[in-house]
């Protein structure tokens, strides 16, 4: 499968103001790609939750946003990276109820449900990298 990755935007996540900035870039990118207002909102929500996760568990990190193309479909990729302690047990972290926000269906499990693709790479002590993609064709707000 051929995947083309476009121009990148990176935002250092070190506080609430950075979250706003990452959301702004993500929303602009989504609307630029022709996503609906609802879909752009879901992208901003995913960015909020990923950034919140970075601040909460690693203190700081970065969020990278880029357009992506695969077999004629356009999408938006969010890459969240940190050098924190890593998620010791990724499977558990993905369960609803592992964290307080998870209990409400928010947090990482929530992001997985909003996005079309979701992948966590994490090693204890080795930081965490989360890749999430929203495709345009997958539907208005699906």
């Amino acid at each position: 499968m051929k995947e083309t990755i476009g121009e990148k935007g990176r935002v250092q996540i070190d506080g609430d103001r950075a979250i706003v900035s990452a959301r702004q870039q993500g929303r602009a990118l989504a609307l630029g790609l022709g996503f609906s207002a609802g879909c752009a909102t879901l992208v901003a929500t995913a960015i909020s939750e990923l950034a919140r996760n970075i601040l909460l568990y690693a203190g700081q990190g970065e969020i990278e946003l880029k357009p992506i193309e695969r077999t004629g479909d356009e999408g938006l990729m969010i890459m969240a990276r940190d050098h924190g302690p890593g998620i010791g047990n990724v499977r558990r972290a993905m369960e609803d109820g592992y964290s307080t926000s998870g209990r409400m269906g928010l947090g990482l499990p929530g992001v997985r449900r909003l996005m079309d693709e979701f992948e966590v790479q994490s090693a204890t002590g080795g930081g965490t990298q989360i890749r999430a993609v929203k495709w345009k064709r997958a539907g208005a707000s699906a």
């Binding site: 706003v20 929500t45 307080t100």
Partner: protein
Amino acid sequence: MSTLEAELEARCATALREHLDGAGESSLNAAYELGRDALSRGFGILDFTAILHAALAEVVFSAEPGHGREVVGRAQAFLLECYSPFEMAHRGAREANAALRRLDEVREAEARRLARELHDEAGQMLAAAHLTLREAAAELGLHAYQPLARVHDHLRKAEWELRRIAHEMRPSMLDDLGLGPALEFLAKGISARHGLVVRIEGALETRLAHDVETALYRVAQEAFNNAAKHAGAREVRLSVSLAADRLRLSVADDGRGFDARSVANGKSGSGLGLAGIRERLEPLGGSLKVRSAPGKGTVLIIDLPIAMEEHAARFAG
């Protein structure tokens, strides 16, 4: 209005004003955090909507004359942000519902396997016992007739019990013949064991979706057991009716009844397996109503949607 609601509404109105003044992403972020807060503080979507509506009305009415339309138009992005956390939670609930449904399927498949094993394995042993008994009867002659006849009776009873247990664990009849025959067999077993008169009536000849038939069978099983064991009923009446795209099943008994309100409020525990019945129905979008009062018997009314394509197939076939 509680202080918490008043606080949320004030925050909401402030953020909305900032949004309309062109604050951009920071006010949208504030809207998102507002929704997240409301969700984590246990606000339901209706309460939260009332708060949003009050804040929107406040801002619209204080806008300059003629600007109301513009305010409402620009509020869209703000409202979407407010609701986004609820969307996430909603998707979580939908996923959990699907998982619950799969769990029920796994549970039924396991019960089906156990029931078949019980029926086949133990059935073979009983058949062997009958053979041996016949041989023994031939060898021992007439003077052993009476004790051997008693053994024979015990074996017959064991066979019947085995068949009943296997059936109630997972009636193969349900898969092969459908809900009507499976319920008739269940009723016979309950009558024999508890001396309860069970009447079954209504639209039971049509085949329904597999998971719907299973759920209804389990619900009936629980209801019959309640009537016999807890309610001390003498008679229980089950009836099924089909409307365009809904199925209604009611189970009424003449037992001692209970205070339905206190059970509904969870004050006397979920007891009576009513919680189990609700859990069965929820993944299928069904609901349970309970009507009961001390001394007045109990009526369970189950309402279940039936998919349109099944409906079409039913009426075509």
